[in-house]
Symmetry: none
Subunit: 199 residues, 4 copies
DNA sequence: AATGAATGAGAATTCATTCAT
DNA sequence: AATGAATGAATTCTCATTCAT
């Protein structure tokens, strides 16, 4: 990794911390610069402008997230086992990286111009993973087919995002992982093929 | 309603429209004033400052939302029937009020200081409704008891918020109501007592 | 006194109190109106604008001051007796009317446009009184003639204004009258004909 | 002196000129910036806010004043000789720096929050000088001891401030130094030990 | 590449004054 | 005469961005 990349990472890390505390709009370049121990101007050597820096965060961090997720899913078979692991890792990763969680859920996810940016494609890589698993599950015959695949995914992401967002807004006063078992149960119930005996 | 209240409503409506388009931080008082056809200073006759105006929106609109929701739930019996209606009305109301939806989901819901404001209590009134229904359902014996009540609620709100947020960010290009049936199916499956025959 | 005059006095009194606390520039018409229990607009029935109200204060109050001073000087003979009484009354009056004292010394006296206003002539009436006494003293042969009459007056007003200003800025924590004896001694020494024996 | 200090001095000088003409409250940052040939924002690089700039003036200028006063007093012996020189230099310095005189006497000296600021201590350094001289005079046996030392000082400062203030408000149409002889005479008469022969 | 002083556009907010009622 | 809602000009201050060193 070149010296340039090192400084770039320094800036991104500082930006995550500052954004996490204040939100994008209230963060200032000079605060980020100070935290990264560089001059204000230096930031413009690595990023076109404030927005560019802002959008650089999820790209890099989400790629990392995906790569690690892949490792965690390795060797696990069965759609529901993989989904459970996905849920577990999502909660675990954001629990361990609350600054990134804040930026991701309180800033990025609600950004109006997100869809038009490169960030969005890095997100797609991530959410695409769920679709894959769900499709495998349908092929295995364990995941229901009577509901749009995208709605299945919405359920999973929806409950996870909601749980983490609430945890963040409440000041991370409780252990996010406490919810894992219950969320998992609900998701499995929702996604399983409807029981025909009772139908 | 007095003339004063009329002007106040005018400003709130203009604020919703502007916030909806630009987000809170990028909206300016003078843009809202222009849209409301009042002078900049007039806004400060009705609201203490920008933040006060910002937080006045969900208080009033969420109270309206709740009142109408109550009407829609009247006469419906059975926990799942009521939950289905809740889901339907949530989607329907936000579909019909996309500007409010934007402000609610892209601005309010992720606001760091939300929890400490009066807005939060108006939200609680709304989400409290779900808890009530779920508890009734548990007493009826149709809603599962093996999962924390709050996680049940997180599932419902999570999938709804995610669905609407996605719809908003995608530019409302499709009909939000198309998802109603599928979301409803999933929620019912998730919340129903686990089928012991197949267990 | 007509009803109009009553309301006018009410406003002037409120203005003195507000100016005294905040100073002219930081006082607002609406604060004065509130303290006077009238509507903002009403002030403009009695005064052309903020500055007009501002300058109306010393005119009226200084005329009152002069009239009472005259009463106090009645029947006192001898230039130094009269000067002593003047000094005493100056300190006494401002001690009893600290709000007016503030407005007079911290606002009026340093106002750039004062000299061009009607206020200035009401001041002249007041300071003219000193000149009269001093001239009488010179005719009596007790007040020195080797120094410009205006400088004699400057000495008296200077020490009085300085003493009162200091008292005001220090928060009126001590009794202004405590200084009367010493100030009087010094002024008498300064103004007396130089002792030729020691010359 | 670094380039930074140069620009800082430029701003202070511009501020003195503008304050001198309009007074603190009516002066605007952008007018000062224009006169100093810098951008509005530049002022905030050197001063925390408008008030900080305001209070920076007397600190620096009064320190200069004191240093020069010290030089002028060097080698002069005898309390009254030193007091005369003090009076002379006070009048001379303010005559030569009328913008500073305005700021000092029409703005600073009547400022309500002055006492709580750092400025006040720079003033104390200045007025402390008089006390020193007066005490020496008492030890020499030439300055009267029957009057509070602080009142003696009040007399000196009072007459000087009054004389200069009047000169400023009258538009500096006459030569301030014309008053030096008379003021000096009066002050000496006031401060001298009372002549016991005539007592 | 790195710096950080300088910039100046832009935003929130205040408040004297007006005027329809 | 009295009101007080409405106005909008003016002001302070912030901060992303640039550029000479």
């Amino acid at each position: 990794m070149s010296k340039k990349s090192v400084k770039r990472q320094l800036i991104i890390q500082a930006a995550i911390e500052v954004y996490s505390k204040k939100g994008f709009e209230k963060s200032s370049i000079s605060e980020i610069a100070k935290k990264a121990n560089v001059a204000d101007g230096t930031i413009y050597q690595y990023f076109k402008n404030k927005e560019d820096l802002f959008f650089s965060i999820p790209i890099e961090k989400t790629i990392e997230f995906c790569e690690e997720l892949d490792l965690h899913l390795q060797g696990i078979t069965g759609a529901f086992n993989r989904i459970s692991k996905f849920i577990w890792y999502y909660l675990y990763h954001l629990k361990m990286n609350p600054d990134y969680a804040r930026t991701l859920l309180l800033e990025m996810r609600v950004n109006r111009s997100l869809v038009e940016t490169k960030v969005y494609s890095s997100f797609k890589q991530f959410t695409g993973k769920i679709l894959e698993i769900l499709q495998e599950g349908q092929e295995e015959g364990v995941v229901r087919k009577d509901v749009n695949l995208y709605v299945l995914r919405q359920l999973i992401l929806g409950v996870l995002e909601h749980a983490v967002t609430r945890w963040l807004l409440k000041g991370q006063k409780y252990d996010l992982m406490d919810y894992y078992q219950d969320i998992n149960k609900l998701v499995v119930s929702a996604l399983s093929c409807p029981n025909r005996i009772g139908g």
